[in-house]
């Protein structure tokens, strides 16, 4: 009985497999018999041509969509391209924008529909006007013509029009918007708590604990301290974190009356560093000790800057070297030279590619976010403690979504993963 049932199933499967093949064969035979010689007959224009403002842009884009010409797949002399024409008057002169390749492998073909974004399509730029070309609010007209392999062209499609307009809200970035609101709510909540005097615990961080000891060592040896802010710009987050640590170090050096040398490689960084050190000396009650010459601009080029800083280490015999900020290929060159001079070295950067060098060549390294935490840890200011606590909650949210997203995706549901799909 079981064997018979198996045989029956096999028979059914064989029939199911055989029928489509026969059906396809029949269809091919029918189409071959119905095939008409279309050589020399112009193709039909594309169908359902539409123009609309490009969403989520600054107001200089129009999207044109159309469905393929009915003659795209005809047996003889099929359509190979669609020529798009633009004009600023409905019955005016149209100029060709571009010819878009026909067929399912065309980059502008998006499942049954062609889509072309007419944006910043270079109406001059080398010598004069472009400013994003399509004028905001102005109506543009489009029509399309199909072309066959032998060069036959269709009639133009009916003109369609659209006017580009700017958007205030990028719907593709909604998840950023929500994330910012949540994050700022957390930051404000914890700043408020810190201001009220609620104790916000911060775990000890090795590199930060060592800062005071390193300054003390320089004082005992009577040698200067070197503070390098890296090769980032004044507004890089790592550089900003570096200023906060510099303020703390400068205040201590003012108290202990030892010089802090801060050679910089960017004029704006130099200005901010000078202001930071000046303020720290004033806070320590020793504005008279402040010397602007200790915070010189060296050069903006990376390796000459390194050569100069290495020279300072050797000649000034700095007892303690701090590297806090954004670093690039110069990290190992600086840290190795510092190590050969016997200085205590403390580094911190958020550049993953440079952290290995600092870990290998310095005594203490603040890894990534530890650099940002250092400023809050050292100052204990509510304005810095609040964001640190909020960042921890943000990390907890990341962990939560990663766990939920991973579990659901492993089970074949991608709705959590899709929440974080963003468009630029």
């Amino acid at each position: 009985m079981k064997l018979n049932r198996k045989l029956l199933w096999m028979l059914c499967i064989c029939l199911l497999m055989a029928f489509p093949v026969n059906f396809e064969a029949n269809a091919q035979e029918e189409s071959a018999s119905d095939a008409v010689d279309t050589t020399g007959i112009p193709p039909a224009p594309p169908v359902n041509v539409q123009a609309m403002d490009k969403p989520n842009d600054n107001g200089h884009g129009i999207v044109i969509t159309w469905e393929p010409s009915p003659d795209e797949d005809r047996a003889e002399d099929g359509v190979i391209g669609y020529s798009l024409y633009r004009s600023d008057e409905k019955d005016g002169d149209y100029t060709e924008v571009r010819t878009i390749a026909a067929g399912m492998y065309s980059i502008d073909y998006e499942g049954e529909v062609y889509k072309y974004e007419d944006q910043d399509d270079r109406e001059k730029i080398g010598s004069n006007p472009n400013p994003d070309f399509l004028e905001k609010g102005k109506t543009y007209y489009y029509k399309i013509q199909t072309t066959t392999a032998t060069g036959l062209t269709s009639e133009f499609s009916e003109p369609v029009s659209a006017a580009p307009r700017g958007d205030w809200f990028h719907t593709g970035k909604t998840s950023y918007f929500i994330a910012i609101i949540i994050y700022f709510a957390l930051v404000l909540t914890y700043i408020r708590q810190a201001k009220k005097g609620v104790h916000l615990y911060i775990r000890p961080i090795g590199g930060i604990e060592a800062i005071d000891n390193a300054i003390g060592r320089a004082t005992e040896m009577g040698r200067p301290i070197l503070f390098v802010l890296g090769t980032g710009s004044a507004a890089d987050i790592a550089t900003i974190a570096g200023y906060t640590i510099l303020a703390r170090v400068a205040k201590k050096t003012a108290e202990y009356q030892i010089p802090v040398l801060v050679p910089v490689n960017e004029p704006v960084v130099m200005s901010v560093a000078q202001e930071t050190v000046r303020a720290a000396y004033a806070e320590a009650g020793r504005p008279d000790l402040y010397d602007e010459k200790n915070i010189p601009y060296v050069t903006a080029m990376q390796f000459p800057y390194v050569a100069a800083v290495n020279g300072i280490m050797m000649r000034e015999k700095t007892a303690t070297n701090f590297y806090m900020g954004l670093f690039h290929a110069e990290s190992l060159l600086l840290a190795e030279t510092g190590a050969t001079t016997g200085a205590i070295q403390i580094a911190g950067t958020d550049q993953p590619a440079q952290l290995p060098f600092f870990i290998a060549a310095t005594d203490f390294t603040l890894i990534g976010e530890e650099l940002y935490a250092a400023s809050a840890y050292l100052s204990k200011e509510p304005l810095l403690l609040g964001p640190l606590k909020a960042q921890d909650y943000a990390k907890a949210l990341i962990i939560f979504f990663v766990i939920i997203g991973t579990i659901t995706l492993s089970l074949g549901w991608d709705f959590v993963a899709n929440i974080f799909e963003t468009s630029i």
């Binding site: 507004a235 890089d236 050569a307 840890y377 990663v402």
Partner: protein
């Protein structure tokens, strides 16, 4: 041995040797090369700042006819008076050269640092928050051509655990004790393994730079090897 007859190759080789002499100790040759290097680069960047930024991005925008002999492309352009804002900010910044007006430069500084940090906010949010979640959500079990993919599955599990434990390490407002401490320790081990791999990778790239310099000395200058 086929010594180069080009004077500039000799200059380059001697400066290279002067910089290398720092490996022995600080000396007058290194000092000379260092000062030359710093001086030339500082002057170069100053010229770049004037001709690459100030002239095309400020003067040519504010007064195109004045610049048309230097930049023919701006001929016939209308002045763009919005550029008075950066001009004013620049002048405010230069006020720090005056002992009495130095405080004015702080406004320009605050503007630069504040606006740039604000612009970085969304970028950081995209890469560090949304992007972190987006790229960390991966299926733990993977299949390749319909069959279970052992290597892919192990790889994804390591990524998942690495992200989880790495994030735990960067929690600052909670003591790292108990299970939290274990996860944090695993996190720092994973970070160190990553840094070790990164170290090796980058050292290889640096060795290629050294090879380039050696080729310059032994091939271009001394001519004892061929390129």
């Amino acid at each position: 041995m086929n010594l180069s007859g080009d004077i500039w190759v000799w200059v380059g080789a001697l400066l290279t040797l002067s910089i290398f002499s720092f490996l022995y100790k600080d000396n007058p040759f290194y000092k000379f090369a260092e000062h030359l290097f710093v001086g030339v680069s500082a002057a170069y960047w100053m010229c770049m700042g004037i001709w690459g930024t100030l002239v095309p991005n400020l003067f040519a925008k504010l007064h195109p006819p004045l610049m048309k002999t230097i930049l023919p492309a701006v001929a016939g352009k209308e002045p763009d008076y919005w550029y008075f804002i950066p001009l004013i900010l620049g002048i405010m910044f230069l006020m720090r050269l005056s002992p009495k007006g130095a405080w004015i430069s702080r406004w320009a500084l605050a503007f630069i640092v504040g606006t740039t940090a604000g612009l970085y906010l969304t970028r950081s949010l995209r890469s560090d928050f949304i992007g972190q979640i987006q790229y960390s959500i991966i299926p733990l079990v993977t299949y390749k051509d319909g069959a279970f993919n052992f290597v892919g599955t192990i790889s994804n599990i390591i990524i998942f655990l690495g992200v989880f434990c790495g994030l735990i390490y960067f929690f600052f407002s909670k003591e790292h004790k108990g299970a939290f401490g274990v996860a944090s320790r695993v996190g720092i081990y994973i970070l160190m393994i990553t840094f070790g791999a990164g170290f090796g990778y980058t050292v290889m790239a640096r060795i290629s730079l050294l090879v380039g310099r050696m080729q310059y000395l032994f091939a271009d200058w001394l001519g004892v090897i061929s390129r």
